[in-house]
């Protein structure tokens, strides 16, 4: 199953095998039916592919379509395999590698956003500091009492990671992240 880890067969392409792993974001349009997520996840675990983030939700109610966004990591060869394998699943309508598409459109990467709920201890001087930082990150307070806050923050994953890192010394209690929602810039759909 790990054939992709072995040298390629054709001597022409041996140079390509030095390909580095890249992180790509895929959009997968599927029928919203029972078991479809299990099929996608089973494909990844069964064939040894990575999942760094996965989100799924119905996007077109009448058409019973859901959109799955997967962030995965692999060499271009493996990424091509992942796309082909996904397209082979019966309930899959389309697979778009948003990262490749973004590059084609001249963008560095697709639009990627995530939401996180971040619970922090907030008492004494830390309390003021946490509020000040939340403001700077445009995180909003959605629950609080005298010794805690729950912040809601949206943005690029890197921004959320930074916010969480900053909250750590201030008394981070727990974090819940949605995973990434993504699409490309410009007027075209997937």
């Amino acid at each position: 199953m790990n054939a992709h880890l072995q040298p390629t067969g054709s001597a022409y392409f041996i140079a390509k095998e030095t390909e580095l792993a890249e992180t790509h974001t895929l959009s997968v349009l599927v029928d919203n039916e029972p078991g479809v997520l299990a099929r996608v996840i089973g494909l990844f675990s069964g064939r040894g592919y990575n999942i760094e983030s996965l989100t799924v939700s119905e996007t077109e109610h009448e058409a019973h379509l859901s959109r799955i966004t997967i962030v995965t990591r692999g060499t271009p060869h493996v990424l091509e395999q992942i796309k082909n394998q996904l397209e082979r699943l019966v309930p899959v309508h389309r697979v778009v590698d948003l990262t490749v598409r973004a590059a084609g459109l001249g963008h560095e990467r697709p639009i990627e956003r995530e939401l996180a709920l971040v619970k922090v201890h907030g008492s004494g001087e830390h309390r003021v500091e946490a509020l000040r930082l939340a403001d700077a990150f445009r995180a909003s307070v959605i629950d609080a009492n005298i010794d805690h806050f729950v912040f809601e923050i949206t943005g690029k994953p890197s921004k959320i990671e930074q916010f969480i890192a900053i909250m750590k010394p201030l008394g981070l209690i727990e974090v819940c992240r949605t995973g990434i929602a993504a699409m490309n810039r410009g007027p075209q759909g997937m």
Partner: protein
């Protein structure tokens, strides 16, 4: 559909949908969760149900039936253990791309998830070993799902599907939708026509090739008789040498002058060297499996590769190719033959002369040679005699898994597609006999022979009872070497000849076993008596177990040890004990 027209019970819908999809035979085994369906089977005559003795047998029968006819094979099993017993043939069919519809019973919807008696998560268990599966929770969806199941099983790269039907759905009443009234599914629409630009590119490469080889596979058989027809035409027109995988045997006739024999781990010297040294490789309906390529980074290092496959995920999976063509083999080859004809005048046939000279030299190496014996039956000799005595008949061959399978592939000449059924991808011992029963159901007047090993045959031997019940005169030809020969060979090659658990101490008396089931047993121990015994087997109008006692310690050569390249094969005359002992290094030993 509205009102009361076309109202039926779920069980009636199942039978109606099967009929409307052209089903004439189903292989099955009853149980609590499928009783309503069995009740319907009892009350009709259009579909014949073959009662098996184990659900694994039902699956392999359906596979043999499908592979020998090009139709979809159908199996019917109950919930829980019925469904889990079906897993092996489902995975087998997945790996060999055999179209199979498995209908399974499930506990009533209200009990799903309660650990009810004979409940198992059938769709969960079979998800990775099917192309697709469905749990039907609404009787009004049942007909559509079954029609869709038949479509998915046979379109694109064929494969197995499961339709899991809870018992209350079988009793419930709902509307029946005929296949023509079912809206076509939007997803999963495999492409069959190849990209003409790519085919032109391929033809251009082929025209300039000086050392070309065609490497064809099971996809040619799956694509149908047209594919084999165009393949033969292409070989004829181009004069290219052709080899094939285990699964592809028969697409090009073994007696054809361009035939190199099978390639791969136990393939011929000429086939493997042609693959290694070629400058253009045309892979048709094959998937660069590890049994074929040997060590990947030494696989055909100097060739440009053309790959025709209906499954895009097969392209560039193991081996990078230069010209991928996604489409159905028959459709693509038709275009390719047409383009080649148009270009034929500009092709210089003499350019292949040196290549054919090399091939003639490799052929002379006679890599399938073995030392004959006047005292014991050599297994290769047994297959050769079986071939000679059956080749003028309407014969179908199935096999189990092991040395006998490879010897059958090497020494039995296949002239037509769909005549050879073997478990290639999964390598399932126990496949051959039930598969032969399935073939015999589809071709009642043909000669159907399972070339078996003494160990493999014991895995599904219970189907003798099924063969006797239905008067199916299947022949089991056991190359009885008293060992799990292929395991013993690997232990000799890789594990210092420590024969751990590969000898069968308490072999049954196969003649008595045949008789116990109501069949006929024949034993043969002498080369001089073999022909007569085989003739007797052929002339017996009943299931036969033929216990052919062969040399116990023969090895199957040539062999490319795991982790080696095509040009590092072990040939029979070079395979001294020492060469055999040193053939595989520590790294190769870790491979399978």
């Amino acid at each position: 559909m509205s009102g009361t027209e076309n109202q039926m019970t779920g069980a009636e819908i199942v039978l109606q949908a099967l009929k409307d999809n052209g089903v004439e035979h189903i292989f099955g085994y009853p149980g609590g969760a499928v009783l309503p369906i069995y009740d319907e089977i009892f009350q009709q005559e259009d579909i014949q149900h073959i009662l098996v003795r184990h659900e694994q047998g039902a699956g392999h029968m359906a596979e043999g039936y499908a592979r020998s006819t090009g139709k979809v094979g159908v199996m019917l099993v109950t919930s829980g253990p019925g469904a889990t017993n079906a897993v092996t043939p489902l995975q087998d069919a997945l790996m060999d791309s055999i179209p199979l519809v498995c209908i399974s019973g499930q506990v009533p919807t209200s009990l799903i998830g309660s650990d009810a008696f004979q409940e198992c998560d059938t769709v969960g268990i079979t998800r990775p070993c099917t192309k697709h599966n469905w749990l039907v929770r609404d009787v009004n969806e049942l007909a559509r799902v079954i029609h869709e199941a038949f479509r998915v099983a046979q379109s694109g790269r064929p494969g197995p599907v499961v339709v899991d039907i809870p018992k209350d759905i079988q009793f419930a009443t709902g509307a029946y939708t005929p296949p023509s009234a079912v809206p076509t599914q939007k997803s999963y629409q495999p492409k069959t026509q190849g990209d003409l630009k790519k085919i032109e590119e391929a033809v251009a490469l082929m025209k300039s090739a000086r050392q070309p080889v065609i490497y064809s596979g099971g996809g040619v058989i799956n694509s149908g008789p047209q594919a084999a027809h165009f393949l033969r035409e292409l070989v004829e027109l181009t004069d290219f040498p052709i080899t094939s995988t285990l699964m592809g045997l028969g697409a090009y006739p073994a007696s054809g002058k361009n035939w190199l024999g099978m390639l791969g781990m136990h393939g011929t010297y000429e086939a493997n060297l042609a693959m290694h040294d070629c400058d253009v490789m045309i892979c048709i309906g094959a998937r660069f499996d590890d049994r074929i390529t040997g060590r990947l980074n030494a696989f055909s290092p100097n060739s440009k590769k053309i790959h025709i496959d209906i499954d895009p995920s097969s392209i560039n999976k193991n081996v990078r190719v230069d010209v991928p063509i996604i489409g159905d083999v028959a459709a693509v080859l038709e275009d390719m033959v047409r383009l080649w004809r148009a270009a034929a005048k500009t092709v210089d046939r003499t350019r292949l002369e040196d290549w054919w000279k090399s091939i003639t030299k490799w052929r002379a190496r006679n890599s399938l040679a073995y030392t004959p014996s006047a005292d014991v039956i050599m297994p290769q000799y047994a297959i050769q005699r079986l071939y000679e005595l059956t080749k003028d008949r309407d014969t179908y061959i199935t096999t189990e898994v092991g040395q006998h399978q490879m010897w059958a592939a090497q020494f039995f000449g296949f002239e037509e597609p769909n005549r050879w059924m073997t478990s290639g991808g999964l390598g399932t011992m126990g496949y051959g006999f039930p598969a032969a029963v399935g073939v015999q159901v589809a071709h009642p007047d043909s000669l159907v022979i399972d070339i078996a090993g003494d160990a493999s045959i014991q895995m599904c031997i219970q189907e003798m009872s099924c063969a006797v019940q239905y008067g199916l005169p299947v022949k089991i030809f056991i190359l009885n070497n008293q060992y799990m020969g292929m395991v013993r060979q690997w232990q000799q090659l890789l594990h210092g000849n420590r024969l751990s658990h590969s000898y069968t101490e308490a072999m049954p008396d196969f003649v008595k076993l045949a008789e116990a089931y109501g069949g006929v047993g024949i034993r043969c121990e002498k080369p001089g008596e073999l022909d007569e015994a085989i003739k007797q087997m052929i002339d017996t109008p009943a299931p036969v177990i033929f216990d052919c006692r062969v040399a116990n310690l023969a090895n199957c050569f040539p062999m490319i040890p795991s982790g080696k390249a095509h040009n590092e094969m072990l040939l029979p005359d070079e395979a001294t004990d020492e060469a055999v002992a040193n053939a595989i290094d520590a790294k190769g030993r870790q491979l399978v």
